[in-house]
Subunit: 242 residues, 6 copies
């Protein structure tokens, strides 16, 4: 089974970190191919970043052909996931939804910790869209940028520990989703400190993708996720036309 993990961001060290997280949890039968879009922002920290990232993410889906069995979109917010589902019969899993499903299965009430303060609304909307406003009891931010999160690991762990402790004591969170692909790999260190389940969202999505492939389920083409209608799309390469 081959799973293509697409970092939504174009910061190469982050793609490597995501790959490590994905490799660490893959089943022996699974091959992980981690990539990043050719175009798009280094890091996704707001709506502008997110929307500029999506065409590149979708291009990665289109270019994969039939050799891929499932896709993971690695950015908490699940950018473009519905569009990716139109492009392929293969399952497409967003790391936000995957991490929330795992959180639901191990905790009654959970929280999300993420990077910049401005992301609060994006995180809230992602949770509301998923239907989990009654399960998520805490959203906390570190104030660190995505790049700092990726590169300043000790500061990031310290900030996440602080935020997480508040989520536990103030908001009664019983598990935490790491709300940024750049936090991949920090779950173990935080579990040691906070003693509640910490969900690495990339890892969660890899396991969800394996699960759906294992079930031999494909994306429904009944209505919403039908192949894009055939039409002219200006300014995009031929292979992105339908």
């Amino acid at each position: 089974m081959r799973i293509k993990v697409i970092n939504g961001n174009t910061f190469e060290p982050m793609t490597r970190g995501i790959d490590e997280s994905a490799q660490a949890v893959r089943s022996p039968q699974t091959e992980i191919i981690t990539t990043q879009p050719k175009a798009g922002p280094e890091s996704i920290e707001g709506y502008y970043d997110e929307y500029l990232a999506i065409p590149g993410i979708l291009e990665e889906v289109i270019l994969s052909g039939d050799e891929i069995d499932a896709f993971v979109i690695a950015c908490w917010g699940d950018p473009g996931v519905e569009a990716a589902r139109e492009l392929t019969t293969k399952p497409v899993v967003g790391i936000a939804e995957a991490s929330m499903y795992v959180a639901n299965m191990v905790a009654a009430r959970w929280g999300v910790v993420t990077t910049m303060h401005r992301a609060l609304d994006m995180i809230e909307k992602t949770i509301h869209r998923a239907g989990f406003s009654h399960r998520c009891v805490s959203i906390r931010t570190t104030g660190l940028s995505v790049i700092e999160t990726e590169t300043a690991r000790q500061a990031t762990i310290a900030a996440l520990e602080t935020a997480g402790r508040l989520a536990i004591t103030e908001d009664k969170a019983e598990a935490l989703c790491l709300g940024c692909a750049g936090m991949s790999g920090l779950d173990k260190a935080l579990e040691e400190r906070l003693e509640i389940p910490i969900i690495d969202a990339v890892a969660a999505a890899v396991k969800m993708a394996e699960a759906i492939v294992g079930l031999q389920k494909q994306t429904s083409k009944a209505l919403t996720y039908q192949r894009p209608e055939s039409k002219r799309i200006k300014g995009f390469p031929d292979y992105m036309q339908f």
Copy 2:
């Protein structure tokens, strides 16, 4: 006051139709500048189309400089509207939200009629996100493509009349939002036939934009809609970097 109306689609006849709707309702003091992205799909009929359209829409916002007082994004689904709000202090109005606000002010229960059957989920999500699941009692589709909607006007009117009549009799809708920018200009013809308020979403958004400018309100830069963080964005022109 100058309002820039950005068609989310790149089909030129549709841009002209949108412009006519906008011109028809603008106040005497308002200048309307209708445009379409340089790149993007001819028509937005699914999530893939929508996400490929957004960077071009955002580019139109960025390129405008200070001479524009408000922006309207003309595609029911309000693609990229939060990102556009990050890019400017000027108000940005989506035609979906604008038409729903107007519907709320003239009817207790309303519906949305749109183009292709596959758009049902997009329409529903747009309404749910806005908070109006308890006000919208009907979503009906004509089965016509956006291009057909724009070019085959008589067939479109007939199909909208049929869909609208079902919305009224079966679902007890008391007003209807035209759920596609390509339906601009059809409200009068449908009002004659259906005898309930029919909301031209583009027109509604122009009036909402005028209203906010008239109130001298600007997009809040307090948190969510702060200017995008400064970073490298690969594959996009310099003027789209922050």
Copy 3:
């Protein structure tokens, strides 16, 4: 275009303040006629006040005849707005709904500041009814009465500034609706202090009314807002019978 703005309260200085707010934002083509009911409480600060105010508000709608193009009901809570819609084909706009629509278009998360502590439940229910519980993140009260709000302007501004600052820092509100018609005219002073959009609800409603008139939309008579059924209404003047 003539817009009749009906103060829900019968405190004359407040009606003048409302008129000033309405005049300040009207379009050149718009004539504003501000009035107050003949009967009803000086100020609306609870449910009893609100319900005693409504018949007088409705009387103002009935007495207007055809020379009015739209009505604004000026009391945050939108008292009697559905009933007013039954009485006329002209659009009727409540200042609460109007201010929330404007807030939605300029901010991702917003709050409401109002007068007395006891109004908390009324405010919450107004927001819940509108569908915006997920957008409104803060309700704060000054503890001042409506009359004090109208007459003790410096104390009111100071109290609103304090409440607003808590809404911003504690609740992460990014815009604020002034949740009382008696706060009309204070938006500019508060914007200077708080540096986020402050929505004068009366002004917002005037612009919404202009927008709907500009769209040539009328209140739907399809079902809910049909003209009241013909019947005897004891104790009310002849012109209030149907």
Copy 4:
């Protein structure tokens, strides 16, 4: 124990019917005093009717003094119930809420049948406000006016049977609330025909009022339902000033 049942309508035969329903279920220790407002519409069939009825309803509460132990407001929609709670420390029960509570305790899924088609929105909003959108699976209307409902009993029963049967077969309702005080007394006849619990809303409210008095609970004066603020109320009698 004395319970004052206030018909929201001023149609005397209806007040008698309500009284019969209330008398039929009262406990031996309970005295029922059924009344109707001095002013207000004969029948409440829309928002205008409802708002003109409320001051008269509230007057009935005010005039009662201390000899009353609880109040029932007899109009499905619970007009003015929050205001009545401000006026007295005694419990105030609306017939809509009471009937829904009873329905919840005897059925998993229930419906409401009411009079005129135009009332659909009022009924829906009443249910939504109460929090029972997930329990109410059916709203059906007979198309008969309130007066016809009160005076043409056989036609009413036939129409309710037809509506009720559709609620059961189409919507899987397992109990029905009679959504108009004018339907009081019809529950037994309908139960024979439909074989599911039919809730007479007036009767339900009398028992709820008895229950709260039996518990020696009074209306909370902590915040929302504090006594109305002292102020001038123009055009209302002295005893309605606070």
Copy 5:
């Protein structure tokens, strides 16, 4: 009228306390029979406890035969209430739902105070299921076990007073439900201290049961609460087979 009150817990002093609360509010015509399951946990403080208690609760319903007119299940959380409704045509009332209905009728915003901190999720889910997330503004826990709550009355009152005061001042609760059957009988002492309505949930349920019996309503057998299907149930006595 005979009401059987079934303590969900098997701690005999608690059953006596529940009986006292029930006896104290019953109508003269009502006979109260309070009992506890033969099997099950001493106290219900978590989901495991709750599910082990339910078969014993249901057995108490089955063993009652026709001499009982209504059942009350005395454990906040309403364990097994839907199953009990399948077993009998007589009304079955849970103390949680009953207390929330009473709270709604005397207060605009209310809270729940309960025993152990871990019960927070159970309480929240009970409120969410009932549809009252918008009415309940506070959930507070004393940290005391159910047995301590029953036996250490002074400590319990002190802890409830502290929790209640926070609910009032911090969360603006205007009434409180005692969220544990073991708190029965403490409402008066707390009302003296906190000066808002305190709802004894057992007492509330007894009055609700009396109300439904007084209305001659029975559990709907239309669909959900039909008698259990006939089948073999291993390991349970013959009288529990259907």
Copy 6:
């Protein structure tokens, strides 16, 4: 990895069917141990059945000791899943939640098909509790009992095909969850007929359990799912005391 799959029902052929479904999708490294409670109903078709089944389900968790890595509770409705989470640090997955998560990842709008008509309310509540009322657009029942579902395979497939086709055409469902453990193994036959993803809930849960074990996540013991409090539990064996 060892996963214990606990059939909620005590009908042995059904346990075998569940085992086959679980074996068919397990990873090579996974060992499946399928079992059924010693006590409890042959089949779960209502709330009574469900609650009598739960102690036996929990006993199966308790008896497992440390050699099990995850538990699956195989009954759509997820009986006792929160209690099971209190009993073990190992992940516990309900088949209802698992199947809904999978449905969400392959379809925008999905439905559930189940057995008896009376189960409608249980199914709806399960979906509402999970937060997916906005994703589930169809609940259909075959009218067949659980035992018939297990034993009369051709009739079951025919009935499911009929129900499924209505879900697709009438309700626009794009995937279906098989809402009964007794339907395990029918997904492929139905996918051939209906051409949309059909989710075998048992299979889905096995893959979810593997996923969580693969992530090395355990049930949070922070608050809600702490080990049951130590206390006397009458009528249960010693090993079920804490």
